[in-house]
Each structure stands twice: as C-alpha cells, then as structure tokens.
C-alpha cells in the first residue's frame, strides 16, 4: 500500500489499513535487532533529529537505536542544551532546524499539538514522540504490535487501561488505535482522572471500579501515576491509589486466564503495579520495549526511506 503521510502526528490521522501496514512492516524490522550485526544500510545518508523539549530517556533512546540500526545519522537536541532556554519560539527553532535539512524530526513536547505546529512549518517528516496530554502514537503502535504478536489479533480483544486517563497520551493513542482496529477498550481510574467527554470522544467504555474493567480482559494496561502532572489534587495519596487501583495478583485474577500485563514505563513499582505482577509470567513489559525499536524503525523507513527496499 501507499503511505501518503509526510508526518506521524497521531493515530487519529491514520486509517486501520495504515496502522496494519505499519505493524506488518515492524514485524519485519524486529528481526534485524536479533542479528549479531544489528545494522542495515537502509537510511544511510539520512539525518534524524531527536528534538526533546521534555526529558525522556527511553523514548529518545528507542528512536536513537532505531535510526542507528538503519544507518541514519542522529542528533539530539534537548531542552537544556538548545535555544529553548534562551526564549526562542518553537517556530523559530523549527525553521533553524529545517535550514540544516534533516529528513525527520522526532519531537517530544509538553504542549498538546506542538508537533502539528512544527509539521506545518517544516518540510521534514515530523514524528510525534509524545505531545502534552494528547498522543504518543509510536507507543500506541508498539503496544498494538505487542498485543498482536502475543494474542494473534487486535479485533475483538478486550483491553483494560487503568490509571490517569485524563493526563495520559499513551491512553489516548491506545484508545484511538485500538478503537480503529476493532478492539474493545475499557478504561478505569479515579473519577478525577477520567476526562469529561471521554465516552463521546472515543469508543471506550468507562468503569468507575477497576475490577469491572479488568474482568475477562485479554490485556491489562497500567498507566504510570504522574504526580508531577497533577495540577490539582486528583487523589488523596499513593497509599489509597495503590490499594484501590493498583494491579496486584488478586485483581489480575479477574482477567482472562491468559491475559497479558502491559505498562508504558517507567513503572512506579508498588504503586500502580505490584512487583510480583510486573515481574510475573504475564508481564510483557520488556517485549514492549523491544517492539518499540521495531515500530520506530518501520516508521522511519516508511516516512523517509524513499523507495521500498527492505
């Protein structure tokens, strides 16, 4: 199929066929990371800028590894070292970057919609690596790749997402992506963390009790409690959160017998997920990390790889 997008701003913009195509491509790229020589010349001579306004270790590293395994040159621009601290606007920084002719710009930004602004200003492909509380499309894709790999399908899969839905771009990308792929998404969390408009915005069912969302689920995805994101008191404290919403062995038993446990990381062990569940046999958290590299390789290839030649 032809992939007609310059950028990957969100899963919102993609059709089910396009998502399927990216996941299929990612399957192929996963194998490269298993080789003794983990490098192919596919993107030799291409330049990828890692432009991170927000600190992020794992996403930035994952993109960096993905680009390097495809032989692209990568440059990092972090909040503390770039012109951002000098008060330069995103638009100005973008135009300056553009003048250096990168092929792709990977943007992580604390403002929802920042990649959309950037994409309108530059000719390079923009990949959203997480914008505010909006989307984190590559995370959504790697999550779907992981589910599909283990469960063999996405359609009809019952996926429970538990936690701070309101402030989670991971939840949004998963709700959108899984909705398009025909999965049944259920969400739960403290009511203060369930945004107004949720049920109208997505094909997701909202449950006030996490047990109801988890019951019979094929996938249980726990979200990180982001204390720093909460600008108002959203819950009394970690103790009660852990007691009411944390995933422990008992709650996990409500899910389907072969249910898998996912977490976008970094985990707060003992808060949203108990150590025995995180490290238990149903946890696929490290598979997610492996798949993250594959999905990002696939995307870079699709967006800036030019002619098809794997």
């Amino acid at each position: 199929m032809e992939f007609r997008h310059k950028d990957l701003l969100g899963l919102e913009e993609l059709t089910a066929e396009e998502i399927e195509y990216i996941l299929d491509q990612a399957e192929g790229f996963r194998e490269i990371s298993e080789r003794p020589i983990k490098k192919v010349p596919t993107l030799r001579g291409k330049t990828v800028v890692l432009f991170f306004y927000e600190p992020s270790t794992r996403t930035r590293t994952s993109f960096d590894v993905a680009a390097k395994r495809l032989s692209a040159d990568t440059f990092s621009l972090a909040g503390s070292t770039s012109s951002i601290v000098k008060g330069e606007t995103l638009a100005d920084t973008a135009r300056n970057l553009e003048a250096m002719k990168p092929d792709a710009i990977i943007l992580r930004h604390s403002s929802s919609g920042a990649p959309h602004l950037l994409a309108g200003l530059v000719r390079s492909s923009v990949i959203n690596a997480g914008d505010g509380t909006h989307e984190h499309p590559t995370q959504g894709l790697l999550d779907m790749l992981t589910m599909r790999q283990i469960k063999g399908r996405l359609e009809g899969l019952k996926v429970a997402i538990i936690g701070d839905i309101a402030h989670s771009r991971v939840a949004r990308s998963n709700m959108i992506g899984l909705g398009k792929m025909g999965a049944e998404v259920r969400v739960s969390g403290p009511p203060t963390m369930l945004p107004i408009g949720l049920e109208e915005a997505y094909e997701a069912r909202v449950f006030l009790r996490p047990e109801e969302a988890i019951e019979g689920a094929d996938v249980v995805m726990m979200l990180r409690v982001q204390m720093e994101r909460a600008k108002a008191p959203l819950f009394p404290g970690l103790r009660e959160y852990s007691r009411l919403y944390g995933l422990n062995a008992k709650r996990l038993n409500l899910a389907a017998p072969d249910a898998i446990v996912m977490h976008p990381g970094p985990m707060n062990r003992g808060v949203e997920i108990s150590p025995e569940v995180a490290d238990g046999p149903r946890s696929v958290i490290l598979d997610q990390v492996t798949n993250g590299v594959a999905v990002r390789m696939a995307l870079l290839y699709i967006l800036i790889g030019g002619e098809r030649e794997a």
Binding site: T89, S112, G113, L117, E135, G197, E200
Partner: protein, 426 residues
C-alpha cells in the same frame, strides 16, 4: 455645515423606524428625518451623501474592545483600532482598561481620549479599571475617572474573585451611575484550561474550561447585582446556562444587561481542531447547543448587545503552542456581516441586529448616539446589506490578524461611517 443623506432606508431601532427617509444633519447633529423629496430648501448648500441601496443606521458601537495602547502598540494602537472600527462600521468603541499601564487613574483616561481625538476616526470611550492594577484588591477613583470620561468600570479578564471586595466595588460605583462590565468567571475552576471542556478538549488533550466556570461567575455577579442594586453588565456570554441565568435574573427584575460576541453565535469548539490558536479565546468557543442558546438569547432580548471583545495579538502570541498562545481574536472588521447573517437566518430582524450593535450599547453605557432622533449626535453608519466579500486579514485596518474567519465568504459591509456628520476618511 449641512449634510443630507439621500435615498437610503433608515433603520433606527431607538424609534422603531424602518422607512425610506432622508437624514438632515446640521453642525454635527441630526436635524430631522424627512420623506424623500421633502427636505425643502435644506439641500441648498448641503453636502449630499447618496445612499441608494444602503441602510442608514445610528453609528454602530462596540462596547467591548481592547486597543492595546498604551503598552502594546505592536498589537494595536488607538489610531489603528479606531480605523478598524470605522472600517467595520463602528463609530464608537469602548476600550477595556487592561493596557500597560492599566487604566486605573485619570492620566491614562486622559491619554486615551487625547489619542482618540488625534486619530479622529471613531469615538473611543475609556473604561476604568475596577481595582488598582486589575489586582482585585484596592478600588480605583471612579469619581475622577468618570469626570475624565470613563464610561464604565471593569477588571475584564481578571474578575475580582473576592466576593466582599466585589460587593464593595458595586456599592461604591452606585454613586457615579457607571455600570460594572463583568467578565464573569470562576478563575480557580477554569484553572489552566485553554478551550471548552468536553469531547473536543478530551480528544485534543487540551485542558478544558467547563461551562460551569462561566456560569458560576455569572450567577455570583447576578446575585451581587441584586444585593447591591448596582448596574451590572455581563460580558461575552457564551454558554446556554449563562443565557438561562440572565433570562431568569431579568425576569426577577434584577438590573442586569448582557452581551455576546459574534464568534459565540457563529463558531463552536470544533474550530479549535488542528490546534488553531486563532480560535482560542476566553470564554472559549462552546458547543452547538450553546451557540443555539446564544442565538435564542439575542432573539428574545435576554442578550442586549453584540460586542466583539476585539483582542488583537501578533504572531508572537499566536504562532506558538496552543496552550501557550494568548486568548483573544480580533472582531471589529467582521462583526457586522456575522451579525447580519443572523438576520438572513431569521434569528433577528434587521432592527434587532442594529439595536444590539448600536442602540442598546448606547443605552447601557449612557453614550451619545445609538439613535437618529433629531437633536442627537450625527454618528451614522451606511450599510450595504448585499455586498458579498471575502475576509482577508491582510487587508484589516487593525494591526493584528488573529481572526478565525480568514477566507470566509460573508455578506454585508459598512459602506461609510459618519462621525458628527462628517464622513470618516479611511
């Protein structure tokens, strides 16, 4: 000096007039309105203004604008704002005090009036701050401000949150007959919200401003109007709930008036999709149901006035991340066609539309104009109802371009404005 406006259809809501009449003007005031050909020898030596095919109305008055001078002249000056007003058909604008420095003392009011006089393009009516520095703490000297020419008081976007202080503001104000222009909002409830809260904000991952934040503010301000007996005017009503609160307040006999802005009866929150900062304002664009309630409120008289909340911003404040971008849109040069669209949609009669844009603002603020009654000031707007045109911000007289209506095909435009009987040259 005599002026004769000939051949037009006069619509003057202040006297329920809608007729083919000639308007005789002498020395800056309306002398009389007479049937065509009945001007006697008045026409001798008079300057004739041909108004065939045009509607002749009292000069439009925008009771809510931000002119940015002093302090932010790169966004707008009093001269450019007055030019935008004239281009949009307005002969009077009411200038909010959130300048730099804030208009919380006579020297700023004097300065604004002097600049407006120099420009000579529209009447500019300064609004005094309610509290010093818009800080919500100490009262300004309303007495001196009123003497200097301030027509109302307002803390606009920084509503006084302390109920006790706001009560004292309203009570003290009664001595001067000035209305309080209230941007009614529970700021703590709006918190860091940047658009209407609901399906669209959820999808865009943007922090929402619930309708309840406005409605809570409107309700408090209405209750304090009842408690104090002061004249409270509610600015830029945007939600169905606010319309309902105002409707009930009026039914109860509370002395409140209210305005809305063209964007609230023209656009919904969907306009934000794509992180369009030119659709970011406060209060935010709401839902279709709210839009319809605002239209209904205008139609049944719950909402008295259409005001633009003209809020010029440059690309520095708008070509940035949505949550960082400034609130506000320009409106002076698009308000008339957008309001006339309500006439074509049968929401308002033409007379109601002109009342909302002229007669009612003049009455609420006790301004000259808003009428063509003999003896009144000859501020007149000539409107071409049929003129079809495309909104092009590059052609705005305003220094700023932050309009959500760029590229819109609209109908209806001011052909001319007269200020004290003199055509305004643009």
């Amino acid at each position: 000096m005599r002026v004769l406006i000939q051949g037009g259809r006069v619509v003057d809501p202040s006297r329920n007039l809608d007729d083919r009449l000639e308007v005789l003007i002498e020395n800056g005031r309306v002398l009389d309105l007479v049937p065509p050909g009945g001007e006697g020898d008045f026409g001798q030596g008079a300057e004739i203004i041909r108004a065939e095919g045009l509607v002749v109305t009292p000069g439009l008055i925008d009771m809510h604008v931000h002119l940015r001078e002093p302090g932010h002249e790169y966004k707008e000056t009093i001269t450019s704002g007055a030019a935008a007003a004239a281009a949009g058909g307005f002969t009077g604008v009411v200038a909010m005090p959130n300048t730099q420095p804030v208009n919380d003392n006579r020297s700023v009011t004097d300065f604004i009036l002097a600049q407006a006089e120099k420009a000579g393009l529209a009447r500019v009516y300064p609004v005094s701050a309610m509290t010093m520095g818009l800080a919500g703490e100490a009262l300004c000297e309303y007495g001196e401000q009123a003497e200097a020419g301030a027509v109302a008081v307002s803390d606009d976007g920084n509503p006084v949150s302390d109920g006790q202080i706001f009560r004292r503001v309203l009570e003290y104000l009664k001595a001067f007959g000035l209305p309080a222009l209230c941007h009614s909002e529970d700021l703590r409830l709006s918190a860091h919200g940047v658009m209407n809260e609901g399906r669209v904000s959820c999808r865009l991952g943007l922090a929402g401003i619930p309708a309840a934040a406005e409605q809570g503010g409107v309700f408090r301000d209405v209750m304090l109007a009842e408690l104090t007996g002061a004249r409270v005017h509610l600015c830029h009503i945007s939600t169905a709930g606010s319309v309902e609160i105002v409707r009930r307040a009026k039914a109860r006999g509370i002395d409140v008036t209210a305005e809305t802005a063209p964007h609230y009866f023209t656009l919904t929150e969907e306009a934000v999709v794509g992180y369009r900062t030119e659709a970011k304002m406060n209060p935010p664009l709401r839902t279709q149901a709210d839009l319809e309630a605002v239209r209904q409120g205008l139609s049944d008289g719950t909402l008295d006035a259409v005001a633009t909340d003209h809020a010029p911003h440059s690309v520095l404040e708008k070509e940035i991340e949505f949550d960082q971008a400034a609130f506000g849109v320009v409106g002076l040069e698009t308000a008339l066609p957008l309001t006339l669209a309500l006439v074509r949609d049968k929401v308002l009669t033409l007379s109601q539309a002109i009342a909302a844009l002229s007669t009612h603002p003049a009455r609420i603020l006790n301004l000259p104009g808003g009428t063509l009654a003999p003896g009144s000031v000859a501020d007149v707007t000539l409107i071409d109802l049929d003129r079809k045109w495309t909104v092009e911000a590059d052609k705005f007289r305003s220094l700023s371009r932050n309009t959500p209506f760029e590229g819109w095909k609209v109908q209806g435009r001011a052909a001319m404005t007269l200020l004290a009987g003199r055509p305004v040259a643009l």
